[in-house]
Symmetry: C2
């Protein structure tokens, strides 16, 4: 599992000319970092006697951010599998009509997976962005900047995942799926851009 490798080794592999890990894997990890930072804000706040009023909020946010962190961490391997599957489909033989047909079908099936995987990543990142406001509003002031870093990470991961939807959707023959996927991504991008900027400004105002 690639997330069992060291941070330094992951960065080396990301920098190499090997096809994976690439931007999709980086997006999933950056999204997971965003979720982890929201959990951190909750964990620190839950340790403060003076902030007992925030307890139920912080527990609810942490349950959700930990679920999203696990989901986004698992997506690193899913992104690599989707990319490898697509590359394998393109390498299938095409020396006669039957092979050509089989190759075209395999490409379509794998393109769909390679569109669904970043779409799932974008959905999870959008949920991290949506969750950040409560952490930024009710979290201990000493870690409010971490909520800010969390929302920036999640929103940039969402935009990164969106690029992978935009790459693969145009080649899909199932136009209704492709159109629905890009429309959903456009909506997520738009909403999360507004939400994340609002949280960033809230964090800046709380820094005084």
């Amino acid at each position: 599992m690639i997330t069992q490798r060291s941070v330094a080794a992951f960065l080396d592999e990301l920098a190499s000319g090997a096809p994976t890990p690439g931007g999709g894997s980086a997006a999933a990890i950056i999204g997971a970092m965003g979720a982890a930072l929201l959990s951190m804000v909750c964990n620190v706040t839950l340790g403060k006697k003076s902030l007992e009023a925030a307890e139920s909020d912080m527990k609810a946010v942490r349950d959700e951010s930990e679920r999203l962190r696990a989901r986004l961490t698992a997506m690193v391997a899913e992104d690599i599998a989707a990319f490898d599957g697509l590359m394998a489909a393109y390498r299938l033989p095409k020396s006669n009509d039957e092979e050509k047909l089989r190759r075209a079908e395999a490409i379509q099936a794998n393109l769909r997976a390679a569109t669904e995987t970043p779409l799932d990543c974008a959905r999870a990142c959008a949920q991290v962005v949506a969750l950040a406001r409560r952490a930024a509003e009710k979290g201990f002031a000493g870690v409010v900047s971490d909520a800010g870093v969390g929302v920036l990470a999640a929103n940039s991961a969402l935009r990164s995942a969106a690029l992978n939807v935009y790459i693969n959707a145009p080649a899909l023959k199932d136009r209704s799926f492709a159109t629905a996927a890009t429309a959903e991504i456009d909506t997520l991008l738009d909403r999360s851009a507004r939400e994340s900027e609002a949280v960033f400004e809230l964090v800046r105002s709380r820094l005084g």
Copy 2:
């Protein structure tokens, strides 16, 4: 060294209530991922016979992105040391005037380091953002989205580092240093926001 720990273990530590690693460390790693993705675009492009014309550009970008990746990776430990130093200064005894004076001096020295460290991180991230255009323009079309993910990562890391400058600068007694640091951060934020959006749009247009 924290970057020798696994990605999964780093995420666990980030999510925990322990004071470090926090947003500053996450920002340095996200910036390093941005630099690594630019290196990847160069490495893939350098392997393409049809893109020989881009060779000198890709080598120059890669030299710079690899230097920035090493610098940003090293900053994870520097961020932790700066944070720990500041926390240790706040914990110094203050039972008499001499102790109070020594504590106040230690806090100021450590606040300065805790402002300079994220400022250095922001400078390095701004350089990654500035470098991304050449990777996005001249890199192999099949990895242009990775240049897009790289520039988004670097810009969100810059904004994250900026939050840590904004936290620490107000408490600095050396007002001329504090004012210069926040003015520099404001300039970097403004310029990189424009540059990174332009590169993101370039990438989207190259995706077709």
